[in-house]
Symmetry: C2
Subunit: 627 residues, 2 copies
């Protein structure tokens, strides 16, 4: 790490040779004008390297593009006056914490429910000429495995495989912890115990995250993600449920996602020179609608009053039953759901987070199309689903997009020049604004006083970026010259209203959950932020807009994709699926809409940060300081 001193602010921070100067500046809240999101095309982010060595793109002598320049030694960097920022706007961001306990668990010796057992069976003799299957059962009894299940298909193969290498075989056993029952699912000749792969899948409405895992070592071999191809048939769960009502609609949705999963797994396998037959266990966690669509279960009643799933616990299923092209013995386990709007992703997340094993009262928040929240600890779990809508995924936002390449994910606005500093996903020219960018924008507009508590633009400000557009007042984030779309990228009052509705739904949800057990925000010992989205949001900004409660920052933890982590735990530890079912059973689901206070809390939260400023002491201070 090098020491980087930014002038004229005289702030010294740390940075590595793998971060660009703009990344380092953004990390510490130091503003440098930037319009192209780091794509290196707008030339607005030029900085003067007063001392030190860099590797980067020179614009003119000693002036470098901050978005394309990396430190090679300690540096003194002067931000030219046109990129200057106000010191008041500076604040140290909470260091994002990635909770470590999950990875710790996975570093324990895995004990997968899919176990391979190499056995040298005795050859038949006239005295011991029992059947092949009996021979195996006797051998398994010696290993402490009694009454394993087998199907007729595998029985057919037994005599050939047993005799291929003189009764030396590897048995693949799947243990279903919910029934405490062993299934003999495959048999191979010789010793194949060294090859035992599993796949963990977070089946998101928008994104599929897939991890290829070695079930012997617990190590992740490769991982990938891609869009859920069902997006073409509807952006959110509701439009997919609608599509499923069409002729063959359900079948199509189910096929599409299975096909995509297959393709992604194939890619992961190729990367480690393996084929479909080496995948033994697939573990999936998704929300209730996604789980239904994956299994080709009718999703209609999830949405119709009184919102009943087909099933919330899913029996042992083989890949072949789902027309997935894996081996006959490949097992697919789907994380149990709680209710129509509290799915396997949340259950998996709760198990992965460890809340259910620990004392501290924890508020678990998974921000997605629906914001799911869970409150509890090892003694109780309350959950609710907030109809937050898709604003945090870019839905209902004029230039909102999902967090793809070119999506604006971080924004800083200079309080005096009102010029933005933006960073985009993969540093591509900006296409639109994604969830974290939206929070960032709203927080910035509010902090620098461009909008008021009600989310309305302060119209007496004369600045080309603040204007009345065709959809009402708006802030121009990127001029069309710098955008990938050739159009201005704007953030409108309508957009703000939508974001505020979403965050108000979340906040009212926290309040009802707490109230239902007679607790308040002060009682919360930890806030766990789940979902990949959670990893990109800025804690203070999210608190500033009232999306997260204003409690000490040290209580917040970013967990990453807990749904995927949970799916992975179910690959690696025998009792995970059972634990998930216990969590689902233990959890009390609160239907927010039936709580009379809910609407009142929601209305009160439709302000920045909230009608009751006392709920947001640090934001209140900030506002007062600004004044």
């Amino acid at each position: 790490m090098f020491k980087i001193k930014f002038l004229p602010h005289n702030i010294e921070v740390k940075g590595s040779s793998e971060e660009t100067i703009i990344d380092i500046a953004m990390k510490y809240g130091i503003h440098i004008n930037a319009s192209c999101g780091g794509a290196g095309v707008c030339n607005k982010c030029k900085v003067f390297i007063e001392e030190g060595k860099v590797k980067g793109e020179l614009i003119e002598e000693k002036f470098y593009k901050a978005c394309a320049t990396f430190p090679l030694s300690d540096l003194i960097v002067r931000i030219p006056v046109e990129s200057d920022i106000d010191r008041k706007a500076l604040f140290k961001k909470t260091t994002k914490k990635k909770a470590t306990f999950i990875s710790k668990k996975i570093e324990e010796l895995p004990e997968s429910p899919y176990e391979k057992l190499y056995l040298k069976l005795s050859s038949p003799t006239i005295e011991e000429n029992f059947s092949d299957w009996t021979r195996i059962k006797i051998a398994l009894e010696k290993e402490g495995i009694f009454n394993p299940e087998i199907n007729i298909g595998l029985l057919k193969k037994l005599p050939y495989i047993l005799r291929e290498k003189d009764f030396e075989v590897t048995l693949s056993l799947y243990h279903d912890p919910r029934k405490d029952r062993y299934y003999l699912v495959n048999i191979e000749s010789g010793d194949t115990t060294s090859s035992n792969l599993g796949v963990a899948i977070d089946l998101g409405t928008t994104t599929l995250q897939i991890e290829l895992v070695d079930l012997n070592s617990g190590k992740t071999l490769s991982l990938t993600s891609d869009y859920n191809p069902q997006i073409s048939y509807g952006e959110d769960v509701i439009s997919r449920i609608e599509f499923a009502k069409k002729r063959d609609g359900l079948k199509i949705l189910s096929q599409k996602v299975r096909e995509k999963i297959t393709i992604l797994i194939e890619e992961l396998l190729k990367a480690v020179q393996k084929d479909f037959n080496s995948v033994n266990l697939i573990s999936i966690a998704g929300n209730t609608v996604m789980s239904h669509l994956f299994l080709e279960f009718e999703p209609k009643y999830l949405r119709e009053y009184p919102y009943t799933p087909v099933a919330t616990e899913f029996p042992l299923t083989f890949a072949a039953d789902l027309n997935l092209p894996f081996g006959d013995g490949t097992v697919v386990q789907v994380a149990p759901c709680k209710a129509s709007y509290v799915g396997g992703d949340i259950i998996a997340g709760i198990v992965a987070s460890g809340i259910v094993d620990e004392d501290p009262l924890t508020l678990f928040i998974d921000l997605g199309t629906n914001g799911e929240i869970v409150l509890g600890n090892k003694d109780f779990l309350m959950c609710a689903s907030c109809s937050a809508g898709p604003a945090f995924e870019g839905g209902g936002i004029k230039n909102g997009i999902r967090a793809t390449s070119g999506a604006i994910e971080v924004v800083n606005i200079d309080p005096f020049t009102l010029e933005p500093m933006i960073l985009t996903v993969n540093k591509k020219p900006p296409k639109g604004i994604c969830g974290s960018g939206i929070i960032s924008l709203l927080a910035n507009l509010f902090k620098i006083g461009l909008i008021d508590k009600a989310g309305r633009f302060v119209k007496n400000i004369k600045h080309p970026r603040v204007r009345e557009g065709e959809d009402g007042w708006e802030y121009v984030v990127v001029w069309k010259e710098d955008s990938a779309t050739g159009e201005d990228i704007v953030f409108t009052e309508n957009d703000i209203e939508n974001v505020m509705r979403a965050k108000a739904a979340m906040f009212a949800g926290y309040q009802i959950l707490l109230e239902s057990v007679g607790l308040s925000f002060e009682d919360i010992e930890r806030v766990y932020l789940a979902g990949t989205f959670g990893n990109y949001i800025d804690l203070d900004e999210a608190i500033t807009i009232g999306l997260l409660p204003d409690i000490p920052r040290k209580k917040f933890f970013f967990l990453g994709n807990t749904s995927l982590e949970g799916a992975k735990l179910a690959l690696l530890y025998k009792n995970t699926l059972l634990k998930m079912e216990k969590v689902a059973n233990m959890m009390m689901n609160i239907e927010l809409s039936v709580y009379p206070n809910y609407m009142e809390y929601y209305m009160a939260a439709l302000f920045l940060p909230h009608t009751n400023e006392n709920l947001f002491p640090t934001v209140k201070n900030l506002s007062e300081e600004r004044k």
Copy 2:
């Protein structure tokens, strides 16, 4: 019933208007010459009706064909001198007993493992909006059924079926007694409990016997039988195992028998206006090779030393897994086997016979291609398979045929004229000799002294029917003029040798089984004769040739097709399959060939009835009487 007096013997017997006069005569051992087996073409069986009314075919005034004439009143029937018999040859036949305990059992209230349960479920409410599957599980818990299994396919259907008739449904539950586990295998809207059919199948090497059963009442609705179509690929199990080694051989054998079963069940269903979907449970019992071929299990190792089956217990299987065109929830249960040569037919038979529940020491004999024998009672069971060969099914016999239409099944030979009286299956012109006819012939030839103890023709007899043919000495049973084949039907010294080998194998088997537990023939309290073949053989004739032990006739019982009865019990009573597995486990299998005494006993039994005449006191007396 009418009184029928036969002259000149002055023997009065009973007969009904549904029996021909020749049938009645045969039943009581009264000889009437008959060459066409009852087909009504040879005109040799003419009788003079002295008194009474008959319905039948008149040859000349008052002379009727005995094979085509039925009594309409009490009769006095004179057998003309050309059809006379010797009084000495007369003996009262043991009345064939059909053991009654099996049917008694089935008349008990059935409690099928496949149970239909009509439930009016509560409709979902916002307070009780648990999943469809959970709703069903809760309802089942109230019925005392916990943790039922379900598969993904049925789950898919749940939401539609539940809502078809407002949550009134009929659940189909299969209870596997071996695991004490319920499987929810089907669900229908409304109340369909009244329709619950099962099919019992005796999967024989030669014949398939199929019974359609109402699982609610236990009543047989219809039954049928046909050849096992695998016959085209090999007459016996060994040739089928050989055929299975060919490319696709196993697949073909498996497909053929499944197809045939499907066709036969379809016929049975048509007769009661039902379709495939109404069949819920199929219960099959067959020998180990037949069970393997049905399930498409490799049969090769059944025959290769040390004779190991693929499996002897078969897991719960669905019809769909076997490509059988029944409903998705149709369960197929296959009776467990003991070993390569002691199959599910015997296990099913032992359970059906009740031996395993009772005290008396019983010798259970199933005469088929292989003669299987079991000795025991509720405390122990010993079994053995005698390589009797196919002689009793007409195999290895020059004019031997299976018991089809036109097969000679009963024979009587006049000791003076040496003319035969024969009856054929279905009274069709004679085509050949089947098992019971073979025993009958051999016993008759021996009784009247045409052959000696060694089974050789007494060559000093001059009679056109006793001659030296192309295969050595033989007895002409039917002249070509009377046969359906246009050839003489003969019984040769070679044939006799083959039959003697077969019966010797059986007898030596009884001896070894008894010896292995330190018992002798006197200790046997019951002899149970199983198999449809058993129903047609004449007890005294079978004892005369030494096929059955010479013990009091009242100890013998004909049980009929116990394999089919066992399969049926498994349809109707929950614990049958478990009981079968217990029987299979309890049974000790004796490999006769490894017993040093076996060969000695076998050699000693290669005489009529046996080298040791003291083992056959009643036959000895008969011989002495003859002398």
